[in-house]
Amino acid sequence: MLRLVGKRLLPQTLAPQSTASPALAARRYHERVVDHYNNPRNVGSFDKDDPTVGTGLVGAPACGDVMKLQIKVDEQSGKIVDACFKTFGCGSAIASSSVATEWVKGKQMEEVLSIKNTEIAKHLSLPPVKLHCSMLAEDAIKAAVKDYELKKAKNGSSEASSPKVAEA
């Protein structure tokens, strides 16, 4: 009987179980996850074509999750001045990407590359079965940085070539 109850609780609904009795409190989303879900920070979209924006788009096909994390970079200092995210997935995935956007703000690009999924998971007290959500967030950060750098390189090379064209 207890095993059945445990199994039923495991696939959590997204509604925070604030009315759950203490006896069933064994498996719930951590309050930080619930907080990020109810009070989402930095949900939104930047213009993908903006040269100061890096877009990281990653997915976890096993759960059908898709996560987009965008950074706005100050070209002079290489500092991330703003970040936003859009995630379709479970509460843990949403919270992980929300935390990621909070943590990258105000940091250097090289610095954010060292953000580890284990740190995000620890911050949110993610259970083992949800660790891959934090991995997704780490991958999203890296993808956003990579996208920005690719864009910068492309823009840099096109700026270099255009004076030649003008002369010709």
Binding site: G56, L57, G59, P61, A62, C63, G64, H132, M135, L136
Partner: protein
């Protein structure tokens, strides 16, 4: 102080209770051995003609039950009758006793279906109910603890089998599992085209204002799901497992979108 008369009275009372609660089929039959007495019998019980012909038609094999095989060499723990030559041996055809779970019997065998993606989905429910009429825990209240636990496990396994085979995506993933193709749960992808399509699809669902637009999106997604489902069938039949896995990944995204649409409708 051990009172022999009281003991005799109590055991005959429990015997009577057992007999009265046992369904008519299992009551003491002149030709079939009583389930109560069989454990103590060390020789073959008198057989009726049906049982004799079953025994004669089956290949000879030793009494020790072969738990690793799902075929004829399995015999009933309760009455010793030999199981069927083909098909899953979940309950004894002779005495009705629920058998322990044999993990080597896969879900397709439980439902008597060929191991392939395209199955007769309409037949699943009937076969499922037929099994539960023989296995369900509600039917073994008066049985031994051993049989009660067999019933709980066997019944749960049939439920798993039914749910897995009923849904196309889970059926596809199960087929891959049987082929020992491991789909990594933690795999992350960054294919821009695929993810962009899925992102836009989910955004469209989120922003849809009325039932009509949701229904439009739903029919589009269903078409895509069907297309990829057919692709899976083809890839799997050719044993192109990489493509098959790829198909299931896409199917998963469409299934999630459909779930969201259903929630909103």
């Amino acid at each position: 102080m051990w009172n022999p008369r009281k003991h005799l009275l109590l055991s005959s009372l429990s015997l009577l209770r057992h007999i009265s609660s046992t369904p008519p089929l299992l009551r003491l039959h002149p030709l079939k051995p009583s389930p109560l007495l069989s454990p103590s019998i060390s020789f073959l019980p008198p057989v009726d003609s049906q049982l004799r012909s079953n025994l004669l038609n089956l290949p000879l094999c030793g009494f020790p039950r072969n738990l690793s095989s799902s075929n004829s060499c399995s015999s009933c723990w309760n009455c010793g009758a030999v199981g069927p030559t083909s098909g899953a041996f979940l309950a004894c055809g002779s005495c009705g006793a629920v058998q322990p779970v044999d993990a080597s019997v896969d879900y397709f065998q439980i439902f008597g279906m060929e191991k392939m993606y395209e199955i007769e989905e309409g037949n699943l429910e009937g076969i499922y109910k037929d099994w539960q009429k023989k296995l369900h825990p509600d039917l073994v209240h008066s049985k031994s603890e051993k049989e009660k636990s067999f019933s709980a496990e066997q019944s749960a396994r049939v439920i798993d089998a039914y749910r897995t085979l009923k849904d196309p995506l889970s059926r596809a993933l199960y087929l891959l599992k049987l082929e020992r193709i491991h789909v990594d749960e933690e795999n992350t992808i960054s294919e821009p085209d695929l993810l962009m399509e899925m992102m836009e699809m989910r955004e469209a669902v989120e922003e849809a204002k009325d039932a009509q637009s949701l229904n439009e999106i739903q029919s589009k997604v269903k078409k895509k799901l069907e297309a990829w489902s057919n692709s899976f069938k083809e890839a799997f039949s050719k044993q192109d497992f990489d493509s098959a896995v790829n198909c299931t990944e896409r199917m998963k995204y469409y299934v999630r979108a459909l779930e969201e649409i259903t929630k909103k409708l």
